[in-house]
Amino acid sequence: MFSLDGWREILDTIAKNRLRTALTAFSVAWGIFMLVVLLGSGQGLENGVEYQFRDDAINSIWVRGGQTSLPYQGLQPGRPVQLTNTDYDEIRGRIHGVEHITGRFYIRGRLTVAYGNETGSFDIRAVHPEHRYLEKTIVTAGRFLNDIDVSEYRKTAVIGVAVRKALFKDADALGKLIRINGLAFQVVGVFTDEGGEGELEKIFIPVSTAQRTFNGADHLNNVMFTTGEASLAESETMAAAVRQRLAATHHFAVSDPRALSISNNVEEFERYRQLMNGIRLFVWVIGIGTILAGVVGVSNIMMIVVRDRTREIGIRKALGATPASIVGLVLQESVFVTTIAGAVGLLMGLSVLEVASRNLPADSSFFRNPAVDLGVALEATLLLIAAGVVAGFIPARRAARIRPIEALRED
């Protein structure tokens, strides 16, 4: 069935039936074009939402001490609840499902930090090593705080890139001693963060060192931990377990709403996940709809084409064409046209996405980096080609089976 001469006959037929070819080609190219643009836009929307939630999309639970509001076992309400290192150890060791955990000890106000003649005032955060998982801290040089820093009360510091820039200009900061409120701390790492400018002006120091240096005893202001793969319900169980355990330690009623503030970001995270899933589903539903419309369009055109060619098929048969050669003629033409048109639609769609993504403002937060999975686009093109073949095959075979005399009689 495949021969150079056969293809000449097909190309000749295509060249001389421009309208028919153009219609088929257009419906295929349009279908693919729309699909690519749509999938790309969906991806852009998804990226935009992801970007907006980039710093909060952490499945974490934050615990903060409060003030009791209910009397408990003879104790008056209004007592403050102060979290301590013991609470940190309890949650870390006894609550099932905790992934990464850190405490935070607050140092009020900004402190003066100096290196040589350069000074600046920066926010100091006293934390445990696993803090970096909760804020998505990215270490760009050196290392983050480690367990030895905490256990040995080392005076080490990890500084934000803005701090490094302010104190060291272009010089290397690692290993240098900076003075925080007059005390020398060694810079062991530099970090960046996607959360915004303010995050980059922070300095992390070991929580234990800060407690000792700034008269913090064993106090912690916050304990926060991530919940790993826990579902919303599981995370709520974890939050309830934390409340129950701390209520026993700190002597307050479990039902006291003010004694402890527990904020569960998993809820938020879940909502975010649902939003993303919603967008994906939406894009796919419309995408499948587009493809189906394309399939119906191609099928329709193929049926019309075969009907249109019934007489020609009859003539060809009378002149000695076998049924197989008729089916081949119709289908090869269809595959040829659909393939080229599909490729054209694909290219046009990709170009539109490319142009769009170049012209988007860099800080656009709703729509970012529209892109399409090339594999998906190719599969869609193949699907349309297959639809053309199937839709062409049935009427082509029927037409090839008609006795030539009947085909010729049909006017």
Partner: protein
């Protein structure tokens, strides 16, 4: 050339069975110029389809050029059509988007004749019907008589043993019809057997032999001295 014995053909349309050809016997010798006449429903179109290998028959034998044509599959029938038969239709049946020479060359395409050879033979055939100058024209640019001559060239090009023509002059005026019949007679003289279905008496009058069909049977078979 054509040998038909006891040919039966029945069409089933819904519940009705229509017995169209009722035990037909027919012998047509090589080089004969035969016309078949008959009113509509006499079975002449059916006979033409069976002889043209475009329709199967129920019983009897049909021998064409020494080969028994029985129970042929579509592909075999297509093969014999392309080797032995040429067709001329009332409505010309040229492919509208192909030029005259491309239309004429089409049967050779299905015989797998190389492209250049096809073109040469097609031009030769067009020359024979006097239309070589019109080779590059589309059917729509030709008159009815010219179109039918292109169709005749197409029937000729594969050098068939038999040309079957279904009312070849039905769509033409009488002057054009006469010219066309002359052309067919000329071709006939080179040894091609003709089998022409017509209902026009003056066309039939030009034939060597006129067969009358009636109700699926041969009702009359006149032979005439060859015309000049």
């Amino acid at each position: 050339m054509i040998d038909v014995r006891g040919l039966n053909k029945t069409y089933t349309i819904g519940r009705n069975r229509l017995h169209v050809l009722k035990g037909l016997d027919l012998h047509i010798g090589k080089g004969e110029f035969t016309t078949v006449m008959g009113s509509s429903g006499s079975g002449k179109s059916t006979l033409m389809n069976v002889l043209g290998l475009m329709d199967a028959y129920d019983s009897g034998d049909y021998v064409l050029d020494g080969t028994l044509m029985k129970g042929l599959g579509e592909a075999r029938a297509a093969h014999y059509r392309s080797r032995l038969l040429g067709f001329v239709f009332q409505s010309f049946n040229l492919i509208a988007f192909k030029t005259a020479v491309e239309n004429v060359a089409l049967p050779l395409y299905y015989q797998k004749v190389p492209r250049r050879e096809r073109d040469r033979l097609a031009r030769e055939a067009l020359d024979r019907v006097g239309l070589l100058d019109w080779a590059a024209h589309l059917p729509a640019e030709l008159s009815g008589g010219q179109q039918q001559r292109v169709a005749i060239a197409r029937a000729l090009v594969s050098k068939p043993k038999v040309i079957l023509a279904d009312e070849p002059t039905g769509a033409l005026d009488s002057a054009t019809s006469n010219e066309l019949m002359k052309l067919l007679r000329d071709i006939n003289r080179t040894g091609v057997t003709f089998f022409i279905v017509t209902h026009e008496h003056d066309i039939a009058a030009l034939a060597d032999r006129v067969i009358h069909l009636r109700d699926g049977r041969i009702d009359g078979d006149e032979r005439r001295p060859p015309h000049v």
